[in-house]
């Protein structure tokens, strides 16, 4: 029974793939390649050594953009959240910048950084910076005063208070924010690579279309993006299972 329940999604996907293949075989045309064609596309990419190269290129940009944003936004956000007045001063500005899609920055990114890695890293950075900043601000503001008071009561100085109370108290919220933001970064990299560079999975998709309508490669690129996105999310989720981080998820 348990095995059947676990196999259910696998079976469901298999049925969809078969239906897809049957539909494409019955109505051959150029609307969509079949799953078999997509597998062929992935094999093509593997043969030319492009799959690995493009995946690494995309992950490289995401790592830099996401990493820089995390390194800057989290300490900044924690500081702002701690000082109520700073939060009141900065909040309106953040609220104006936040709804601007990172894609709207593409022209400026290319103007400032030219076509290349820096421009796409910059776009990913922008896509991650504001959500992470807000996550960090809120994480600090949501720490119950009782933890801070208890920490001070036990004689902690400012550095110890940050390390032994503030940091563990905000970690669960930060992890959720980081996971969601990594998803955003993975969305942004595809768009950035369509315009600003000549490698990566986003580039693969536009290039496959422009260079000869290879829609099998387009869909192959989409499938790989989906799978890697899933892997990234799973990796981040596994962090949430660490026991000393997990308190916030198990407590009501």
């Amino acid at each position: 029974m348990n095995l059947l329940v676990r196999l259910r999604p696998v079976v469901f996907i298999a049925v969809l793939l078969v239906a897809w293949q049957i539909a494409v075989t019955r109505h051959p045309g150029h609307i969509l390649p079949g799953p078999w064609g997509v597998v062929g596309g992935i094999a093509d990419l593997l043969r030319h050594g492009l799959l690995f190269k493009y995946v690494v290129a995309s992950l490289f940009r995401v790592s830099w953009g996401f990493g820089l944003a995390a390194i800057l936004a989290i300490p900044l956000g924690l500081t702002i959240g701690w000082y109520r007045r700073a939060e009141m001063a900065i909040n309106p500005l953040v609220q104006v910048f936040r709804p601007i899609s990172p894609l709207a920055w593409i022209p400026l990114a290319i103007l400032w950084f030219g076509v290349g890695d820096s421009a796409s890293v910059f776009l990913i950075f922008l896509g991650c910076f504001f959500p992470l900043l807000l996550t960090a601000i809120n994480a600090v503001r949501n720490i119950p005063a009782v933890y801070i008071n208890a920490g001070r009561n036990f004689g902690l100085g400012p550095a110890d208070l940050v390390y032994r109370v503030l940091y563990p108290a905000v970690i669960p919220q930060l992890l959720i924010g980081l996971r969601i933001t990594l998803g955003v970064a993975w969305l942004v990299v595809v768009a950035a690579e369509m315009i600003a560079v000549d490698s990566g999975l986003g580039f693969l998709i536009v290039d496959a279309r422009n260079a000869g309508n290879r829609y099998d490669l387009v869909v192959a690129g989409m499938v790989i993006i989906g799978l890697i996105g899933l892997l990234l999310d799973t990796a981040m989720r596994s962090l949430e299972k660490v026991k000393s981080f997990r308190w916030a998820y198990s407590e009501d």
């Binding site: 119950p144 009782v146 933890y147 008071n149 208890a150 001070r152 009561n153 036990f154 004689g155 032994r164 109370v165 563990p168 108290a169 970690i171 026991k243 000393s244 981080f245 308190w247 916030a248 198990s250 407590e251």
Partner: protein, 260 residues
């Protein structure tokens, strides 16, 4: 009424609250919360502050604990003015105060960073046993019941060997059975260690069961209405005529009938 003070004549004054006034200002409106509080607590005494909900007794305890500054007046401990919280005087918040990211051991260890590793282990083991949490050393607070979390917080407070304990309605969130057990445990610990305890509660029965003296506060702005000496030996017979007399006296003082 004189028998308790007579039994403990030579104790020094631990806590002295002088002319304490507290006014909260919010949106330009000022609300007086505490009015001319004067109180002396001898070392080793168990004092309960009782008063109606929202009267300001928690505010008073927070000022005494150093978490809030009074508008006027001073709090002195051993003659020194209190300017902030201090590990010699630990505040026990309800069970909410334990750190959820630390295990039972980790919580008790929290204030012990100055001790050597073996000293720390020994201290942890002692207080785990004292509050009856053996077998739960590795458990996180989310795996504990409300009463266990409360005992854990008391253990964490006692482990740093403070002179004083401040307890702010510590048993308020517990069910009535656990509450009775916890009162018993607190008295046992107090009789063993003789800390000076300031205990805030709105439960008059609880105050009369625990305290050497009960300080009765009025509704806001809180002023001390009366200080009642509870001259009954522990363990207290809660159906004795003296107990009922003292309890009903406080009920009357607060303006409540002792009948439902």
């Amino acid at each position: 009424m004189a028998s308790v003070t007579a039994a403990t004549p030579a104790r020094g004054i631990k806590l002295r609250v002088e002319n304490l006034n507290m006014v909260f200002t919010r949106d330009g409106k000022s609300t007086p919360v505490l009015q001319d509080i004067n109180l002396e607590v001898p070392a080793g005494e168990f004092v309960c502050l009782v008063g109606p909900s929202g009267c300001g007794k928690s505010t008073l305890l927070n000022i005494v604990g150093g978490f809030l500054s009074p508008t006027i007046g001073t709090v002195r401990i051993d003659g020194e003015i209190v300017h902030g919280p201090d590990p010699r005087r630990i505040f026990v918040f309800q069970e909410r105060g334990v750190f959820p990211w630390l295990t039972v051991e980790g919580n008790i260890e929290f204030g012990l960073s100055k001790l050597s590793q073996p000293g720390r282990k020994q201290r942890i083991a002692y207080y785990v046993k004292l509050v009856g949490l053996e077998g739960f050393e590795e458990a996180y607070p989310s795996e504990l019941s409300g009463g266990m979390k409360q005992r854990l917080e008391v253990a964490r407070a006692l482990a740093v060997n403070p002179d004083m304990l401040y307890l702010d309605e510590p048993f308020g969130a517990l069910d009535s059975i656990t509450r009775l057990v916890m009162r018993g445990e607190l008295l046992r610990i107090w009789e063993a260690e003789r800390k000076t305890i300031v205990f805030v509660t709105h439960d008059i029965d609880e105050a009369v069961q625990l305290a050497d003296r009960v300080v009765v506060l009025s509704a806001r702005p809180a002023a001390i209405q009366r200080v009642v000496n509870i001259d009954i030996q522990h363990p207290r017979e809660i159906s004795s005529s003296r107990y009922l007399e003292l309890r009903d006296g406080i009920f009357q003082q607060i303006g409540l009938a002792s009948k439902v």
